[in-house]
């Protein structure tokens, strides 16, 4: 039994924002009431949240845990640790492992490792096509039964519209979503940054926005015709947001996510050929950042997802065009969102919603809420905590981030995972780091 006392509880899933005590019993939220309401209890564990924010544990719809196959970059365990210290209690991991998560054995292996480690709910995403080859459909029902919560060929977008259509039809029988990395590689072919005046100046091959937008348009039409659920990964342009906005107005079952880095950084980060600013989709211009912020604020974009993509230093310390794509994000998502809140881009409740009930709705997860009876995943946030993200803070095996050296504000102080306190005063309970 645990009581989280005197915190300001913000839970957008029930429109709650106020001083509350939360009683956690048997791994579930047992009661929420005015401060002091549970004073008569005995033998309970107390977390003093005075001056802090208490929210549902965060959900990240898009992370790469690299296990199996790329354990030198990240593992289920190290990725879970990064999630926990970042305030994330639920993370959905992409299928581009080796072997690919296209069968029940891989799905179960990921889930087993995550449970044994016990620092996050890890929900695997199965591949849409076998081996991500875009040729044959993965056994979606088998994957769903094994525990996959969605399907995605992230990184290797499904080129074949016919396959995409059939996969949508199959997934719709399961009530599951296809999460789509939208990129027509015949348009972005060989590109390594945003196509723009800057890429022209730097002599780097560009990835035009239209490579993303034509695929968003295609998948919107496929969602319309199949009635299935399509989720657009890491949208990066205003035009992409506009396509999604119209589709939603048309009643199509579509959702979208945006990354913290696309909300905070522009392509200017690439200017000195900094490979920690290389990712796909690439960072765009300031006016696109503005459009993404508007899309998130007005609800067109449902969720913020980190696209946590660990890569070892050696793969980044090379010529720009040869460097790997992607950056880590689990430990920096919260402070970036809070920076957007402080600068008036997002309300506090919208910022929290975008990493709790927003993403929960996208994949239909029973998470992201402090309603009574819900699994007690919650996080206590020190909103005033100023810190810098250094190698020592980083739980990931990789430290490929453009946010090192940035003054960050806001950090998870305590984290409860299914009612169990796993982080206290920014440190793991019964453990290092």
């Amino acid at each position: 039994m645990t009581v989280v006392r005197n915190g300001r509880v913000v839970d957008p899933s029930q429109g709650l924002d106020g001083e509350r005590d939360i009683l956690v019993r048997d791994g579930k939220v047992a009661a929420i009431d005015r401060p002091g309401s549970f004073a008569s209890l005995r033998d309970e564990e107390t977390i003093d949240a005075t001056g802090m924010l208490v929210t549902p544990g965060f959900i990240d719809l898009h992370v790469h845990l690299r296990e199996p196959g790329f354990e030198w970059k990240e593992t289920v365990a190290t990725g879970s640790d990064a999630a926990a210290l970042g305030g994330f209690t639920t993370i959905c991991c992409m299928a581009n492992t080796n072997p690919v998560n296209d069968c029940a054995e891989i799905t179960r292996c990921i889930i087993d490792h995550a449970r044994a480690h016990g620092r996050a709910h890890v929900l695997p995403i199965g591949s849409i096509s076998k081996k991500l080859e875009g040729k044959e459909m993965s056994p979606l029902s088998e994957l769903a039964r094994a525990g996959c919560v969605a399907f995605s060929d992230d990184g290797e977008p499904v080129k074949d519209a016919g396959l995409m259509r059939r996969a949508l039809e199959w997934a719709s029988m399961l009530g599951l979503t296809l999460s789509c990395h939208e990129e027509d590689k015949s348009l972005s072919c060989g590109g390594c940054m945003n196509e723009s005046a800057l890429s022209t100046k730097l002599g780097l091959k560009g990835m035009p926005k239209v490579a993303e937008e034509v695929m968003i348009a295609r998948d919107i039409e496929l969602a319309r015709t199949t009635g299935a659920r399509v989720h657009i990964c890491h949208v990066s342009s205003g035009r992409g947001v506009e396509l999604i906005r119209r589709a939603k107005n048309d009643g199509i079952q579509i959702s979208a996510e945006v990354t913290p880095h696309h909300l905070m950084l522009t392509e200017d980060a690439v200017t000195e050929y900094d490979t920690n600013a290389k990712m796909s989709p690439p960072l765009r211009e300031a006016f696109e950042v503005e459009a993404l912020r508007r899309g998130l604020a007005d609800g067109t974009i449902d969720a913020v997802a980190s696209d946590h993509a660990p890569h070892e230093l050696d793969s980044k310390r090379v010529e720009f065009s040869r460097a790997t794509f992607g950056i880590i994000g689990l430990q920096t998502s919260l402070p970036i969102l809070l920076e957007l809140e402080r600068t008036g881009v997002l309300s506090l409740s919208r910022a929290i919603e975008s990493i709790t009930s927003g993403p929960a709705k996208v994949f239909g997860l029973q998470a992201g809420s402090l309603r009574i009876g819900q699994c007690a995943d919650l996080v206590v946030l020190d909103m005033g905590k100023q810190w810098q993200f250094s190698r020592e803070h980083c739980c990931s095996k990789s430290f490929n981030t453009p946010f090192a050296d940035r003054l960050l504000q806001g950090k998870a102080s305590s984290v409860l995972l299914a009612g169990k306190t796993i982080v206290r005063e920014e440190r793991f309970v019964n453990g290092e780091a």
Binding site: K201, G203, Y273, V318, E319, R322
Partner: protein, 330 residues
């Protein structure tokens, strides 16, 4: 020496003063190259390594001769002869070379930003960019300026106030980029001429270049009244990427021919960085005429590279090279 490591990575970012000093120092070395004994002791005891990881005849040879005429020790490393083929990274190769204490590393690489990348990681060796991908080829722009300066001086004109057309595959050209920045610094009018597929509109909106640059998709219009036509090599390997329908179509629309040159200013000259595809981007009739300054470009290339090596080796210590160029022959 004062250990002032000075890289030359791009024309973009140079001051006009620095640019002109390099060109003027190059001019001083032209005189050295006309002597019987074409060698000065300026960089005796210095070591220059030419790390060329992309095929090159003229640039590599030019840097090697420039180093030797300055009495520096020059060492050439090419991709086939380097540990890169054994899987060594570019950075490890460069760090290995740096450990042998060269003063200057001249780098040619097929990826944009390679010279910046090495400059960021090397502490004691100056990096000179001899061409990085599609990004820049600063010594080419400098030697082009020196060639134009020498040519137009004979007609009592200076480098400033010229109108220049750069024609062809602008998209993939580091030569075009370096020259754009150079002429923009001088306040010259730069016209970029080429098909839309090879001349993206982004060139019209490069910060710092607006006002100096205009784009043309018609060769006839683009070269009207210009003083300089700079032809670029059409990169034949690009054909498979749909940039041009065929060599014939490209040549008909964008090949520079003698009759077309009538539209230019009187006494206009033609530059080409080489190697040329005769009959494709430029006709032999033009290349073999006195208007074409290709051979002068190559000659002045050695002088410019002497000036650049001097600048890199001695950093801010040397402002004018004439005392040095005027020194005793070795």
């Amino acid at each position: 020496m004062g250990n002032a490591v000075r890289h030359l990575l791009s024309i973009e970012g140079l001051t006009k003063q620095h640019l002109l000093r390099l060109v003027n120092n190059g001019r001083e070395f032209v005189e050295v190259l006309q002597r019987d004994l074409k060698k000065v002791p300026t960089l005796r005891g210095k070591t220059v390594i030419n790390l060329f990881l992309e095929p090159s005849t003229r640039t590599r040879t030019s840097f090697e001769i420039a180093a030797k005429r300055l009495s520096a020790d020059a060492v050439n490393v090419s991709e086939g002869g380097s540990s890169i083929v054994k899987g060594e990274t570019l950075l490890d190769t460069a760090l290995t070379l740096q450990a042998m204490a060269p003063d200057i590393l001249v780098v040619r690489h097929k990826e944009s930003g390679a010279a910046h990348f090495l400059a960021r990681h090397l502490r004691t060796t100056a990096v000179v960019n001899a061409g990085d991908g599609m990004h820049e080829h600063p010594t080419q722009a400098l030697l082009d300026l020196l060639t134009l300066q020498q040519h137009f001086a004979a007609h009592n004109r200076s480098l400033e106030g010229l109108r220049i057309a750069i024609v062809g595959d602008i998209r993939h050209s580091r030569v075009a980029r370096s020259n754009m920045w150079a002429h923009a610094l001088l306040g010259n009018e730069v016209r970029l001429v080429g098909p839309r597929t090879l001349l993206p509109e982004y060139f019209a909106s490069l910060p710092g270049l607006r006002g100096n640059i205009s784009l043309f998709h018609s060769l006839q219009e683009g070269i009207r009244d210009v003083d300089v036509v700079m032809c670029l090599r059409l990169q034949l390997e690009r054909q498979s990427e749909f940039f041009i329908p065929s060599l014939e179509e490209y040549s008909r629309e964008f090949g520079v021919t003698r009759t077309l040159l009538d539209a230019c200013a009187p006494k206009a000259v033609v530059l080409h960085p080489g190697p040329a595809n005769r009959g494709i981007e430029v006709s032999s009739e033009v290349l073999d005429s006195p208007r074409a300054l290709m051979q002068q470009q190559v000659t002045f290339g050695v002088a410019i590279r002497m000036a650049v090596l001097l600048d890199a080796a001695l950093g801010g210590e040397v402002e004018e090279s004439h005392q040095i160029a005027g020194g005793h022959a070795a």
